[in-house]
């Protein structure tokens, strides 16, 4: 009796284990920013393909980059990262090429989405969202529309203490580079030093550095003009139509968030199916209507309520307009001098 019980228990444990192994093989692990895809994505994908999704979240590119470099990508199948990080992961050999034959919905993308500077032909990454970085401001408070990055870096007296800037390293520096007509991927020491000094001077006129709540500072009136990603400016516009977005005359960067498949993925076929699913028109539409970012997904953009294009004028930018701007690229070895410079700016008084 006792013996039988033991055998039954062992068998039961064995069954459970094999069950969990089988489930594991059919489970895809995705890491994405919180709220960056529909909350019911796992259910919808399971219903469509029978494959389970395990969704983990990362708060920043650096966080997922740290996890993936530490584990060699083990434990993750699909990652959502910004394009310079996709580029770096590719250089490190941690992601695999996208098999276009397995992702028919790539046809939903604009032709321009196949010509991105960091990955022409979408060899190792698939663009998910894209947009620009510029100035978001209260048109009812400002005397004149801002037109230059210098309006942010050398503000008029009435704007002093009413401005916020992004502190995420690449965009902080990009504001200084663009104001000087330099490339957003500048790494030579002389230019870094010049921009560093200008950004330190600009720091004294800031209300704060803010990467996450700047639009609500505009809504509340704490700030009059903020350095912003276009999609986030839309959150402000949604609450207060007097808020407007402008790309300064010196230009912007083109930022692209993309999807990649890890080389360590045990189930690349399912990973491709997932990317294909994300690229369908419904999900593309969800991205634009809920995250309020522009999407490289033409089928998704065509499906949105056209009134969004008038309420949020930056949504109406064409892919050709976006592609005029330079993308942030992986700086490789130049990152050392670059991040040292950023540390100096953040540390300066």
């Amino acid at each position: 009796m006792k013996f039988k019980g033991l055998v039954a228990a062992a068998l039961g444990a064995g069954l459970l284990m094999s069950g969990s192994i089988a489930a594991h093989a059919e489970t895809l692990v995705i890491s994405n920013w919180d709220g960056y895809m529909p909350a019911d994505m796992a259910e919808k994908f399971k219903a469509a393909t029978g494959i389970d999704l395990e969704i983990s979240v990362h708060a920043t590119n650096e966080e997922i980059m740290g996890k993936v470099t530490a584990s060699g990508g083990e434990g993750y199948d699909v990652l959502f990262v910004s394009s310079p990080f996709a580029e770096a992961l590719n250089k490190l050999g941690l992601i695999q090429n996208i098999d276009h034959a397995k992702v028919p919905n790539l046809a939903n993308l604009y032709p321009e989405a196949n010509q991105l500077q960091h990955d022409p032909g979408n060899v190792f990454s698939v663009p998910y969202t894209w947009g620009t970085t510029g100035l978001c401001y209260r048109s009812d408070v400002m005397k004149a529309e801002p037109s230059s990055w210098n309006d942010l870096l050398k503000p008029a007296d009435d704007l002093k203490g009413k401005i916020t800037m992004l502190s995420t390293d690449r965009w902080l520096m990009a504001a200084g580079f663009l104001a000087n007509g330099m490339s957003v991927n500048t790494t030579d020491q002389g230019s870094l030093d010049k921009v560093r000094d200008e950004l330190i001077a600009a720091k004294r006129d800031l209300l704060a550095y803010d990467d996450t709540t700047f639009y609500s500072k505009l809504v509340s009136g704490e700030a009059t003009m903020v350095h912003a990603w276009d999609g986030w400016c839309n959150y402000g516009i949604a609450e207060k139509p007097e808020i407007k977005y402008v790309i300064p005359k010196e230009g912007s960067d083109l930022w692209v968030d993309s999807i990649v498949i890890t080389r360590a993925s045990k189930n690349p076929d399912a990973a491709h199916k997932f990317i294909d699913f994300v690229l369908n028109a419904d999900n593309g539409k969800w991205v634009v209507e809920n995250i309020m970012y522009k999407s490289p997904n033409k089928a998704g953009m065509d499906a949105i309520d056209p009134s969004m294009l008038t309420s949020y004028p930056n949504m109406a930018m064409t892919p050709a307009e976006l592609l005029k701007y330079e993308q942030l690229r992986d700086l490789g070895d130049g990152m050392k001098a670059f991040s040292k410079t950023v540390s100096e700016i953040m540390a300066a008084k």
Partner: protein, 274 residues
């Protein structure tokens, strides 16, 4: 004994050794360590005036936070210890009640209170007491306020426990011998609770100097404390060796302080036994 040693070994000795080793290598391009280059450059860089200033400024802010926390915490602890015994637990409970809410949420609540369009400024402007909003957010004042608010309960607990252990007979003897209440406090009660004060002070100082959330949110990210500097090296600059060097410096400062505090505590015990 053994589980305690294991705890110390795994959670303290090993991480500290890791930090000490990382200091002497160069960063990898994408974070991590380049094990091929042994260098003392990180240490030289940590002593650059730019970063040393951050250490001094952080110590100053943490020091001010400590002083204010003691000024508020000591009277509070004293009052609680003099309250009727059956009420003391409830009062202590109230002192630590804020800890039931997440640190971030409490910090955001201060933003709601302090911002130029916030409750305090709106109230003061509305009452006609000031004409323009006071700049009380995104500066050192707000950071110190946030630190004092968050860490004063620790001071209250530390000093209360010292006051609890204090035999009332000492104060009674002092009063019987003709000392005023004031003199008794300054010359008997305060010296005998110095270990509690030191424990509370070290607590506030150490937690404050390493804090990075409060300077980031209430300071608006405009000025950094050591904690922010270290956080950024690991999570944004991806320069682990330099982050490790700064951490080692901070740990050294904290160890000196804890050593001084331990010394004060053992002296205080010695005095009582003598």
């Amino acid at each position: 004994m053994a589980p305690g040693l294991l705890w110390l070994g795994v959670l303290m000795v090993v991480p500290c050794l890791l930090i000490l080793v990382l200091m002497f290598y160069e960063r990898g391009i994408y974070g991590g360590i380049d094990w091929n280059v042994v260098t003392t450059e990180n240490i030289r860089r940590a002593f650059d005036p730019l970063y040393l200033t951050i250490f001094f400024d952080s110590a100053q802010i943490a020091g001010l936070a400590t002083i204010f926390a003691l000024l508020i915490g000591y009277p509070a602890a004293y009052a609680i210890s003099k309250a009727p015994a059956e009420r003391q637990t409830a009062l202590l409970f109230l002192a630590i009640l804020p800890f039931w809410t997440n640190y971030l949420i409490r910090t955001y609540a201060w933003i709601v209170l302090l911002n130029p369009a916030g409750l305090i400024n709106n109230l003061l402007v509305g009452l006609g007491l000031i004409s323009a909003p006071l700049p009380i957010l995104y500066n050192e004042f707000a950071v110190i306020l946030g630190l004092v608010y968050n860490y004063t309960p620790f001071v209250i607990l530390a000093i209360y426990s010292a006051l609890q252990k204090l035999d009332p007979a000492y104060a009674e003897a002092s009063r019987d011998l003709g000392a005023s209440a004031m003199t008794t406090f300054w010359r008997v009660t305060l010296p005998l609770t110095a270990s509690g004060v030191a424990a509370g002070a070290v607590f506030v100082f150490v937690l404050s100097i390493g804090n990075f959330v409060t300077p980031d949110l209430l300071g608006g990210g405009k000025f950094q404390m050591v904690g922010n500097l270290i956080y950024d090296q690991f999570l944004s600059a991806r320069d682990w060796p330099f982050g490790a060097t700064l951490s080692a410096l901070l740990i050294a400062i904290m160890m000196i302080l804890l050593f001084v505090q331990a010394l004060t505590a053992s002296r205080a015990r010695g005095d009582q036994h003598a």
